[in-house]
């Protein structure tokens, strides 16, 4: 309802708007500064990865998977290579499994740090941003020293990982983990304890539990709405069943809790990393895999818990060297639906924080 003498208007926000974290466009219908409706428009980064997969061999598609969620590249490849391994019945060596978990969890921490950083940047907090990026840089250094690539390591292979980590990797990882408690304290103090952050984020953008389930929201956003569900526990893949960690859950359902849950997950990830560092065995990092990867006819649906939500890989093999279908269920893509569902009635400044709290990465949304 508009005030008499005024009318609703709609503006385009994005695809180049800095607070949309990539090429996301939304048509925002406004009454003054109150948002009435938002229509998300996606597809600016659509590369047709599912179509590309049909014209590549199984091994050739691995580098593409890193480009989905480019803030945590390793975890996407993990889902893909594990799905192919399930189709072919390949057993991965112990050490490779541990290295995979280490890379996946480092990716999760890096992704969550970017989320907290950009969330603070959207409300003009430059210092938390610099803190988070300072620490994320150390993770990227670890990726770089192993795989030669910072954001999209392309380190996993069907049957293991491409090569062992260099000697200086483990000490560097250890010193990173040792500094972790101090880092978390800093984020607590400068971001989560900040009065401006709390007043901008608490009780803003409520996503009730029932709505979240009905909208098929997954990942940390679901856990911030009071559902304790994590694929790593519910259906442990890789060697996640060996580690002792908790699934954090918050019941606030608001923007603040969706940021807070990331901080708690960083804590849990560092617990996993510490245990992995302690238990990692010596040995080979690559299984005996046939030169030509040709899975038998069959289909598999494999799910992994990505930092952005659950990622599902539905791979149909027709017995040739190329897959008949590779379906990517991207968590962030489904999570976009949360925005139009909860946005009505909030002001345009809240739109920015609510959008930041959804933690989208457009590489994964647009595939």
């Amino acid at each position: 309802m508009t005030i008499e003498g005024t009318q609703e208007y709609s503006i385009n926000m994005g695809p180049q708007h800095p607070s949309t974290h990539g090429v996301f466009r939304m048509v925002v219908h406004l009454d003054g500064e109150v948002v009435i409706k938002v229509e998300p428009k996606i597809g600016y980064l659509h590369r047709g990865l599912e179509k590309i997969a049909e014209s590549r061999t199984y091994a050739q598609f691995v580098p593409y998977t890193d480009r989905l969620d480019y803030l945590a590249g390793s975890h996407n490849s993990l889902g893909y290579v594990q799905a192919v391994e399930q189709l072919m019945g390949i057993e991965v060596p112990e050490r490779a499994e541990y290295l995979r978990v280490i890379f996946a969890e480092l990716g999760r921490i890096a992704s969550h740090l970017v989320m907290i950083a950009s969330g603070s940047l959207d409300i003009c907090g430059w210092t938390p941003w610099s803190y988070c990026f300072r620490d994320r840089e150390r993770i990227l250094d670890l990726f770089e020293m192993t795989a030669g690539n910072r954001m999209t390591p392309n380190y996993f292979r069907i049957g293991g990982v491409s090569h062992d980590v260099p000697d200086e990797f483990m000490p560097a990882l250890k010193s990173f983990l040792d500094d972790m408690p101090e880092m978390l304290e800093e984020y607590q103090g400068i971001f989560f304890g900040n009065e401006i952050v709390q007043s901008r984020m608490k009780s803003v953008g409520i996503l009730p539990k029932e709505l979240a389930e009905n909208l098929l929201i997954t990942g940390a956003n679901l856990r911030a709405s009071g559902v304790q569900y994590d694929v790593r526990k519910a259906e442990p893949y890789s060697i996640y069943d060996r580690f002792d960690f908790n699934i954090p859950v918050l019941y606030g359902c608001d923007t603040y809790d969706r940021h807070m849950i990331r901080l708690l997950e960083i804590q849990e990830s560092s617990k996993i990393l510490r245990q992995a560092l302690r238990d990692i065995p010596e040995g080979s990092v690559m299984a005996k895999v046939p030169k030509v990867i040709k899975p038998p006819v069959g289909k598999v649906y494999h799910r992994v818990e990505n930092p952005k939500g659950e990622m599902g890989w539905y791979i149909v093999s027709n017995g040739t060297t190329k897959p008949a279908r590779v379906r990517i269920r991207a968590g962030a893509f489904v999570n976009v639906q949360m925005l139009p569902a909860i946005i009505a009635g909030w002001k345009i400044q809240d739109l920015v924080t609510i959008f930041a709290s959804m933690d989208l990465v457009l590489g994964e949304v647009d595939k």
């Binding site: 597809g43 289909k299 379906r327």
Partner: protein, 162 residues
């Protein structure tokens, strides 16, 4: 591992909707024809003790002679998993929308429409999601012709003085 409880209920449902039950790598799969899709989904959502009430994924699939809509179901409260495949005619791909059961099926169905041209009856806003509105054809279908590298290379050549 498929629990006996789930297996028994799926078998019973399959007899009712005239479907076929298969197992692939420990995953149960139920294939039905498109008119029964919504009834099947509603039934599995209300299974006793092992409800498959979370639509994890919905996607299209082209099998040359017919299309499929693949529903991956699971639950937030248990380990049960089920895949439902609804066969759709290729010439007239119409199926009822699942948005009445899960609101979140909205985007997933729009994607299947965008890529395979499957019409979801009862969908609130069935428009292309990734591609632009006047895009011709459905790119994920097997008979879609992708322009060759040569052709694309020609298009990239600039004229003099450009």
């Amino acid at each position: 591992m498929v629990s006996d409880m789930l297996r028994a209920q799926v078998d019973e449902l399959a007899a009712r909707v005239n479907g076929e039950v298969e197992e692939h790598l420990g995953e149960l799969e139920l294939t039905v024809h498109y008119p029964d899709a919504i009834e099947t989904l509603t039934s599995v959502k209300n299974f006793s003790e092992v409800p498959c009430d979370f639509l994890h994924d919905l996607c299209g699939m082209d099998l040359e002679d017919h299309l499929e809509v693949v529903y991956q179901l699971s639950s937030l409260r248990g380990p049960q998993r089920l895949r439902i495949i609804a066969r759709v005619e290729r010439d007239n791909p119409v199926i009822d929308s699942a948005t009445s059961i899960w609101r979140g099926a909205d985007f997933l169905e729009r994607e299947a429409f965008d890529m395979f041209g499957i019409q979801f009856k009862g969908h609130p806003n069935l428009k292309r999601i990734y591609l632009w509105d006047d895009f011709e054809g459905y790119p994920m279908r097997k008979d879609y012709v992708v322009e060759s590298h040569e052709q694309r290379a020609i298009m990239r050549v600039r004229k003099e003085g450009e």
